[in-house]
Amino acid sequence: MKIIGLIIALVTGVLLIGATGDFPDWADPASPASTHLSPHFIEKTMEETSVPNIVTAVLADYRGYDTMYETAVIFTAGLACFILLRIFVREEPGDRLYRHLLTGVTVRVKEGMELPPSEDFERIDATWTPPDLIIKTVCRFLIPFIQLFALYVIAHGHHSPGGGFQGGVILGASIILLAISQDLRTSVRRLREKLDAVLCAVGVIIYAGTGALCLLLGLNFLDYSALASVLHCDPVTARSHGILIVEIGVGIAVMCTMIWIYNNVSSTGKYDEGL
């Protein structure tokens, strides 16, 4: 098997390298890739979409259709992890363990009964380990600032490197940090599974819905200049606002999918302690 793999890799490698013989040199300004389409993008972005970040303009406007499917891909991955791993475990009527937060005393409640939800007790499992105090406290302080930075990244996608995907991942990372530094039940209590799953779909619906709105207003799908009549501005600014709306949709979808995938994979679907 090793020999076959080595031969396949070598043959493919030689084929690929041989085909690069006619490629333009590295960083050549006169290469076909740099002279055919990209001058139009670089020179006309400002006057056609009024967005200085050319990458965001191309991503969300010129090739916005690809980006919509990209968001659908990440949604499909979240849905796939959910359908593969999630086990809706019926609670066996065994003993439950609760821990009093102030004193650290563990209370065992006998079969079938449970404590009413309250601020002083948290539910734990038999494999529970106490979270480290320093990590727990530092993360609790950092998480709001991380989220603020993520919102900045989404909103400033027009002017600096950033955009929906990047900001969404940072937002997702903030909630996953909560799950890592404390435990999974805490983060699920903050952002419930049902809300997370529905928001995931809602994010992509915002993107596709904006495109469909443009369709209903008479122009082609994802032609944001149709939004000029809804937003009361000129078509170029409408494109800029349309880009912002879809970036927000992308950010919501990516955040919720990252959290959904983490929850499912780290607890192998049972939504108990997590890692």
Binding site: L15, D22, T35, D66, A72, I205
Partner: protein, 496 residues
């Protein structure tokens, strides 16, 4: 609204899949009606689009309002229109037929399964309709990911088989992406028609040759062309019935469409057939694919796995037909896309019915099945006749075109392979039919052959099966119309 058919075709299923996923958390009973409505709208739009293309010629739909090659454009001509209609109708019929089977096999996860189903159909329709090479890659990945998730919901070996499918599928998609990258580097464009305009001056360069071969190998991996077929039998056999009967008829055929599109539109036939001298080796490889598919099918004692090996052989027909290099061969390949989708759907719906009522589909479980499920076995006989190639079912006509193309091109080995495969199919199917019709129904302790109670599959599973079986005969009868009005115009004039 008819101007917007190309967009509606993909957008309505996409938004519906998202709504199904969200609605599944609120009320599970909403999911099936939304899915049926979405696929119904897609089927209606695709048929309307095909009729528009027959009137007006090729349609270009600019997404985002940007002209290609700045933006992404849909490019729908006769070839696309036909395959779009076939894909959407097959997916719609399969959804209706699979409702009971999904509820049986998937338990509490029917809502996400419906969402993945509709996402898969969105991906397939998008692959066929698009005119942009990179957009095709993204849609390929949506199709692949939803396919992996659906196929992995089967029992015992399903997850391992799907993981192997994932590895091979990712290699295939990445090779395709690499090929598109090579094309982009030497032409600077991603739009298929634009690339085709720029390429002729570059035909002599190594980069274009490398791009073509890498794209071709990538597409071959995804369509399970021998020897890259090892993932297909396990992945399709162990998946749930509804997933297999969606993915088996459609995904490999859409990949064949991608290959034909690459040959005909992006790298024009002059490059693919005349400048590159690889037609003959590829047709030989197709012959080997057909032989191996037939022989491996003979060795199987499991009905579903036998059908998957037949799919491997059918892929060999289509690849060989496309690479024969003449009009008859290409017509046969395109016609076979339509026919094979219908035949495979019919066969897999039969297996789905059997799986719904019995515990398995190994040959030993099928004894005397005709007494228990006469209607299903009737449809199975029609599918068998079509796969063998008996007139007036459609399978005969596509084989006819392929054989006449082989004779015209002088590739007698291909003709021999086709005839051999038909003979082996006769053996395969008559073996199954003999077990079903003539063996006594085994229920463990029965010696007497009193009439067993008929326990046929429910009506929602039977009616689509009949429609498809009738379709096999109807498409066969109307082959002349299909070829003269649609496929004639799909193939460029340059090919004789």
């Amino acid at each position: 609204m008819s101007q917007q058919y190309p967009a509606l075709l993909v957008i309505v299923p996409l938004i519906s899949a998202l709504v199904i996923s969200a609605a599944g958390w609120i009320n599970k009973r909403l999911c099936f009606p939304i899915a049926v409505a979405a696929l119904g709208v897609a089927a209606y739009s695709s048929i309307g689009l095909l009729l528009r293309v027959l009137d007006e010629g090729a349609i270009v739909y600019r997404l985002g309002g940007w002209d290609p090659p700045m933006g992404i454009a849909y490019y729908v001509d006769h070839l696309n229109g036909l395959v779009l209609a076939v894909v959407s109708v097959v997916a719609f019929l399969n959804l209706i037929a699979s409702k009971k089977s999904i509820e049986l096999e998937l338990g509490d996860k029917t809502a996400p399964f419906y969402a993945l189903y509709v996402l898969q159909v969105t991906g397939l329709l998008g692959i066929v309709a698009t005119g942009d090479a990179f957009n095709l890659y993204v849609l390929l990945e949506i199709t692949a990911l939803s396919g992996y998730a659906m196929l992995a919901m089967g029992k015992d070996r399903a997850q391992l088989s799907t993981l192997n499918y994932l590895y091979m599928g990712t290699i295939g998609a990445c090779f395709y992406l690499l090929g598109v990258g090579y094309l982009y580097i030497v032409t600077g464009s991603l739009n298929m028609v634009d690339i085709a305009n720029i390429l002729p001056s570059l035909y002599e360069s190594n980069a274009v040759l490398g791009a073509f071969i890498i794209c071709l190998v990538g597409v071959w991996v995804k369509m399970a062309f021998f020897p890259l077929h090892a993932w297909l039998p396990n992945a399709y056999t162990h998946g749930p019935s509804a997933a297999s009967s969606l993915i088996a008829p459609l995904v490999t055929k859409v990949m064949i469409y991608v290959m034909i599109r690459l040959i005909l539109t992006v790298f024009t036939p002059e490059f693919a057939f005349n400048i590159l001298a690889i037609s003959k080796p590829i047709v030989w490889l197709a012959c080997i694919a057909i032989f191996m598919g037939a022989i491996l099918a003979l060795a199987e004692r499991n009905l579903k796995k036998m059908l998957t090996y037949i799919i491997v052989a059918e892929v060999g027909y289509m690849v060989g037909g496309a690479w024969l290099g003449n009009r008859a061969g290409m017509t046969g390949a395109i016609l076979h896309i339509v026919n094979d989708a219908l035949m495979t759907l019919c066969a897999f719906l039969v297996v789905s019915n059997i799986a719904y009522k019995l515990k398995g589909y190994a040959f030993d479980d099928l004894k005397g099945l005709v007494r228990k499920m006469p209607f299903t076995m009737g449809a199975f006989v029609v599918a068998a006749l079509s796969i063998i190639g008996v007139p007036p079912t459609c399978g005969f006509f596509s084989k006819w075109y392929l054989i006449s193309g082989a004779i015209q091109a002088g590739q007698y080995a291909f003709m021999v392979a086709l005839l051999f495969s038909s003979l082996v199919n006769v053996v395969l199917f008559f073996r199954v039919i003999e077990i079903c019709y003539y063996e006594p129904f085994s229920d463990g302790h029965g010696h007497d052959q009193h009439a067993e109670p008929m326990a046929e599959a429910p009506l929602t599973m039977l009616v689509p099966l009949f429609i498809v079986a009738a379709g096999l005969v109807l498409v066969g009868i109307y082959t002349g119309d299909i070829v003269n009005k649609i496929i004639e115009f799909a193939i460029p004039q340059g090919i004789v």
